[in-house]
Symmetry: C3
Subunit: 348 residues, 3 copies
């Protein structure tokens, strides 16, 4: 089950280039969508299925700003309306393909999978993206064989930093014990917290003075259905025990992550990570994104094994623990949104 | 659903050689069949399943003209009757495996999957094959992950030449607009038509004078369940506007194609293509068959994507267009034959 | 369906080493189990599923003799009881994972999948293993895509030596015609028989005088659910026509084999083979185990093809033959044990 009236990330903007016949097929929230750019660079997101014989339009060709089906040559405009049916002059009213609202923002391409009359760009989460002046962010991608609900539970679950990423991000139980200011939003959850006096993560220790300790100020927002934006600022360990760290800012970083469900079993996981130009060290953003894959792979291995077990034991016993509070919040907001959509569908 | 009283292509004759234990397993119309040659070169098509413990006879060994099961050593003659059961002298009447009628013709091996009393070699489609004196035809093969019904609809759908094979076979909308003399046969469809004043297909243009135009006289026959034979003759562009082209014959070619269903999801696609010796250019038949794979791969990609979408949207809306007439004819004959077989089964 | 109150082989003892985080995941009789060694070398077999969120414990880390879940850091002792839940001090009673009884014997690791109060080490089959003084046995492993019932039927089916292993183990119809003293045990079957005047198997003929004939004294025991132990002694062909061979002992060998079901479709097949030090030839045990894989692969190909056919034809006709007697005995004991467990479950 996926919310329909919502934005889903379909990839990074550079995934969609202007090569003549570059048509990019995706599966998003259970539907087959094909994306491309018009001559003016604007994106189009079109149902990837000809209404005639269900051929894949992504096997067709771009013609002007439209798409020519590769099977019988029907031509569809970027508005989804059929312009030509070879062999006949009359174009029936219902010869259309669905067009999905699509927006580019912060380096991401977003597709609205629901009712086009309810489209709301204000619902797109804020992020510092890879093209932001003053910032150096790198991007990457991985497919994950799990249900997206397990990914979003994982991402907002602070305690997971301690354990899943123990070896890679250097988690300590500071995360488990952090005092989190957690705010449940209309369509998401925002967490703010500071961890103090931590060693640097293993993969970055060689870049800073030996034994250096840091304070980190975290701002994390998860937006339903499946986006997660992290702003974290690292400071030399200071003396403040409450409020923002009072050491010297040594690293200002953003990470944007989207875990778009293809269907119930697979997620396309798009992620960025990087630093401000002011606080960067030459080569550090590459270290983050290339040092990060082991951490991101931990975000792959764990939810994949969970999903395998959940399918094997659908009624499997689930022990509740105190630290569940965080991990449960985003699934709860997801369920609220799903219920509201179901109720609206019943009423309609 | 597959017609049973019908010939299915099991491969090219050279797929079945005389290497000592060469037993070739196939899945045809949902049944597991094993094929081999006897000492005199005659083909045998035998159920690939021992009646004892369902072992695969294709894992056994040839012994004379029979097959020794590799599990408990039961020996079956080429008539399917058991000759030996190690450990006992009595051979029960029902110790048999099914033998399927099998015929070689035009380089193809044909298996009759239905009632052996109804076998009719006259139902094997006529083709010029790779061994025909005066002709130089090459053969190839590919598996396709689709339902055979989509392949046969595709093959008799002339408009598909325009679009699917645009880049490879140089289709133009001459095909979409061709006046076709279409004849629905007892067990198939025959189409005859001429297209005039066409440029040569891209992959062959360098072999002929620059800018040369041609007329092509097509005779195409699809035989249910799944064979498609094309005879096409290319002429220098003439002045005739009706009837056969009146230019000079520059290429006389045949292509035989069989899209044998393994089951509902997979097709074994066997194809040949080549020219008469008189009109060939040295190396041209190789150009056709090796230049053709991109075109044949188009016959793979499109029906595979369709089948994926049809399974995802079984009740998916299907727009009808004027050009459907061609593509619908062979599925209609197929349905008629399936209905007749079902009615006969009910009556029996 | 698998007997629960039974020992299943989880692998060779050397599969479970002391590398820091060596946690070995297995699927046994439908359940996910994770195995490791404690600091003292003792084995632990633990349910591979955290009771909290169904994370895989095999993705966690060893901590002392316990396991720290890699997701939220819950720590479980080797007794399955939770020792720590990060973020809280109270440990609920039901925060436990299942511990399976586990025993090492003859180089094998055995796990008891049923009621721990009924555990009975006496049910572990006797074998000479690879660490036995005076013996040189080698081990190997292969996965098989079949139902374990087909493997155990195969292994106790003497006639299969004649046919399946014709080319590799040099079977002759001596096996089909052997007079077998067959004893049905409480939980298995034991077969004893002598075959006389055989040529050596092809892969070993070059090691002995040309044309040499041998008598072989076989003792084979299959223990339900899935273990098969072979003791075979080869003698120069003697004059005895009954009772043990009276030639000279030239080879005293043991093979232990376990075909552990993962689930209904897959088997983990662990096997050993080797000779006594007294009768060995330097390099012979390697010849057996490396010469054996073709034979073991025959034990893979045949049951895999059978299983494919049985699933395709669940009600498929099965001809009975005289030689079935052997192959049917172990499945019959298996069925008896399954029925007894089902009856006990009903009564409980």
């Amino acid at each position: 089950m996926f919310p329909k009236n919502a934005w889903y990330c379909a990839g990074w903007d550079h995934d969609f280039n202007m090569i003549a016949n570059r048509l990019v097929p995706r599966e998003i929230a259970g539907e087959l969508v094909m994306l491309y750019r018009k001559a003016d660079g604007q994106m189009v997101a079109m149902e990837d299925r000809c209404p005639h014989r269900q051929a894949a339009l992504s096997l067709g060709t771009k013609e002007g700003d439209g798409i020519r089906c590769g099977y019988h040559g029907m031509l569809f405009g970027p508005d989804g309306k059929c312009r030509e049916i070879p062999g006949q002059t009359k174009i029936p009213e219902r010869a259309t393909v669905r067009i999905y609202p699509v927006v580019e923002k912060d380096g991401w391409v977003w597709v609205w999978m629901g009712d086009a009359t309810k489209v709301d760009p204000a619902l797109i989460p804020f992020a510092v993206g890879p093209h932001e002046p003053g910032w150096v962010l790198k991007t990457d991608y991985m497919p994950v064989n799990t249900n997206y609900r397990l990914e979003i539970a994982n991402l907002m679950d602070l305690s997971h930093l301690t354990w899943i990423h123990k070896a890679t991000l250097g988690g300590t139980d500071a995360y488990t014990n952090a005092k989190v200011k957690s705010t449940v939003l209309e369509r998401g959850v925002r967490n703010e917290f500071v961890v103090r006096g931590l060693p640097l993560p293993a993969f970055a220790q060689h870049l800073f003075p030996k034994g250096m300790l840091i304070d980190i100020d975290y701002h994390v927002t998860c937006t339903i259905p499946c986006t997660w934006v992290l702003h974290f600022r690292a400071y030399t360990a200071g003396t403040a025990t409450e409020g923002p760290p009072n050491g010297q800012l040594i690293l200002d970083t953003w990470s944007g992550q989207a875990v778009t469900p293809r269907n119930e079993d697979w997620v396309d996981y798009y992620f960025s990570w990087g630093t401000s130009v002011e606080t960067t060290i030459r080569g550090l953003p590459e270290t983050l994104i290339h040092g990060a894959p082991p951490a991101f792979l931990e975000n792959k291995a764990v939810p994949e094994a969970q999903w395998k077990r959940m399918k094997k034991n659908p009624g499997g016993n689930r022990l509740r623990i105190a630290n569940d509070a965080d991990g449960n919040k985003t699934p709860a907001v997801l369920d609220k949104i799903l219920a509201a959509e179901a109720a609206a569908a019943m009423a309609a």
